[in-house]
Symmetry: C2
Subunit: 354 residues, 2 copies
């Protein structure tokens, strides 16, 4: 059986890193005899340029028919002043909604060799290993109304959730915690928001279904503090869309190597989408120096979640770990005792290590 | 003319630190011949216990008739399981709304002697000195509807603003920047929220009125990253209520001494409310070891903003700086070469230094 993978390179360094991931997947095919079939579609700025929309119908259709989607990154200064519906991010929000990618998983784990680049003191960041589970298709991002009224003198956005939408992401987080250190932190603002009160009630209800998982509730403002003062206290964090946006980006800089962090966005039974936690980095696009590791590790997540290929995923992760431990590094990192390599070289090193 | 100050001690260490601030203000009276008249009212948990409401009418009335309000802190485990309308935070939200305290100013500046306690590396936190200007009476905190529907199977909160509400906080932030390093960072989520788009437009419009201030726009998720990776890049940050809640708490832990950070909440022409950035710390309440400095520096902010007593405010700030530099410290801090003192001792040292 051939796995059907849609590549959405997008903008900036997106294309550079996505073809790196493809090379790595081809190495997996060779070694483990697991064939993949790739096709490539436009999203984001490049789709605006080519099709006058950030999310062409044929892109959506191809993704729906695939087993998994790899996304590079979207956005860049070229499209920054476009009207809302012609902005690259709309493509990203649109594909999340179209594929019902309700569960965004963002692991944050440092590499020993790279922790020196953390903005945090080593004794604080050392040993941290957390997973943020963010609800991705509800809340303020999609609630209606989201509009101006009173002649443009007032404005409203809507934070809307159904109980079902909350239940499925909370279940996913409990299940993720069961596979890890069995400790779930639910983040909300239950002292202010009605939606957070319902969220907290559902977390409390679900406890009974996952008796091995310990649960605590932390207010979002306190969570923003604790991520910095004591990141090792966390195992799995679950929260709604907007809080998750802020906290997962906050968490992503803690280890000092954003260029290494993957993510997965999952649907209930459908296709999954995998992308690096970093953006399109227009300042270094086209130079061939982008760090492909976040994208490569996203491909590993894809093997694990969409293809159930745990051994193959582990092989990629081990190869990355090995190369990092051999002190090879890309320009976004710093390693005074190491060897600076470009995107192609880093990819080749990882391919060779597989 | 006698300045009328209402004291709202509240819960936990609130009372301990508020009477410390009162002692310091009495030292100011002695030295500068500036008389103050103090009265004390209940808010938060203690008000629930005494009056069955977190915000008694007489408290609101007294605050409205005062020149300024000092608030200790509210909340504690005793009231954590109360129904919403009988929770201590409701008192805080209620007094903000009743006094129309739309502008929350939270300065974050480290003390050289204490920076070693920062979770950040010294080279990153050193020299940071920023002010967060948070909108405090609008947005998700007060927007309607905020309720369940569909038999409790769905829920909605509302992020609502009028143009006027945005304009006044943005003006306040520009004015604050003019008095500082003339650099304003506006934080929003304009790639997703309609309210953020209006916010950004207004910031752009206002630029012309403050030609000396340079302005940039940062998305809230990026701001959460930059506060950690490069806090010195910021001078004044302005943002809406919920983003401000999260970012100001995040910022408050950067210097490593939350117990030193004051805040001011201001109305257009009315009374101002001043409180420490920290909470009621129930774990150490009653022990007499709380750090009174955040509260004392809040009183200094009060002198500056509500009484226009810049010299007197400076005298308090200088006294605090001096005592910290003499290596006196409270139990929340760490200073291996210093002398540990309790709340009363720290207050007396500051009083003596004035
Ligand atoms: C680009 C933007 C709409 C998006 C989001 O806010 O979800 C991004 O910040 C992310 O986290 O993937
Ligand atoms: C207690 C709570 C309602 C309050 C808020 O969210 O505004 C607090 O976190 C604050 O920042 O003053």
């Amino acid at each position: 059986m051939t796995g059907k993978i849609v590549l959405l390179p997008g903008d900036g360094i997106g294309a550079e890193v996505i073809y790196a991931a493809k090379d790595v997947l081809e190495a997996i095919t060779k070694k483990y005899n697991k064939p993949f079939e790739f096709s490539s579609y436009d999203i984001g700025g490049v789709a605006i340029d080519n099709h006058n929309t950030p999310l062409p119908d044929e892109t959506v259709k191809a993704c729906k028919n695939a087993d998994a989607v790899l996304l590079g990154a979207v956005g860049g200064p070229k499209w920054d002043n476009n009207p809302s519906d012609l902005r690259p991010e709309r493509g990203l929000l649109g594909i999340r909604k179209a594929l019902d990618l309700y569960a965004n998983l963002r692991p944050v784990k440092g590499f020993k060799k790279l922790l020196h680049a953390s903005p945090l003191k080593e004794e604080i960041i050392q040993g941290s290993d957390l997973l943020i589970v963010r609800e991705l298709t509800g809340g303020l991002y999609f609630g209606q109304p989201s509009e101006r009224f009173d002649n443009g003198n007032a404005v409203v956005d809507t934070l809307a959730y159904t109980r079902k939408e909350m239940e499925r992401i909370i279940d996913k987080a409990f299940q993720s915690a069961e596979l890890r250190n069995k400790q779930l932190t639910s983040v909300d603002k239950a002292n202010v928001l009605e939606s957070s009160k319902l969220w907290r009630e559902i977390v409390e209800e679900k406890k009974a279904d996952y008796p091995n998982v310990t649960v605590d509730h932390v207010l979002v403002d306190a969570a923003a503090m604790k991520l910095i003062t004591n990141p090792t206290q966390f195992d799995v964090i679950v929260t709604e869309n907007m809080f998750g946006d802020i906290l997962s980006d906050e968490a992503s800089v803690l280890t000092g190597s954003l260029g290494m962090l993957p993510s997965a966005s999952l649907a209930e039974d459908g296709v999954g989408l995998y992308e690096p936690a970093h953006g399109s980095a227009p300042d270094i696009a086209g130079k061939g120096i982008a760090n492909p590791i976040a994208m490569i590790l996203s491909a590993a997540m894809m093997l694990r979640y969409s293809f159930n290929m745990n051994e193959e995923a582990q092989a990629i992760e081990d190869a990355v770990e090995k190369i990092v431990n051999q002190n090879y590094y890309t320009a976004d990192l710093k390693n005074d005792n190491g060897e600076l390599v470009n995107t192609t070289e880093m990819t080749q090193l990882i391919v060779d290590a597989i």
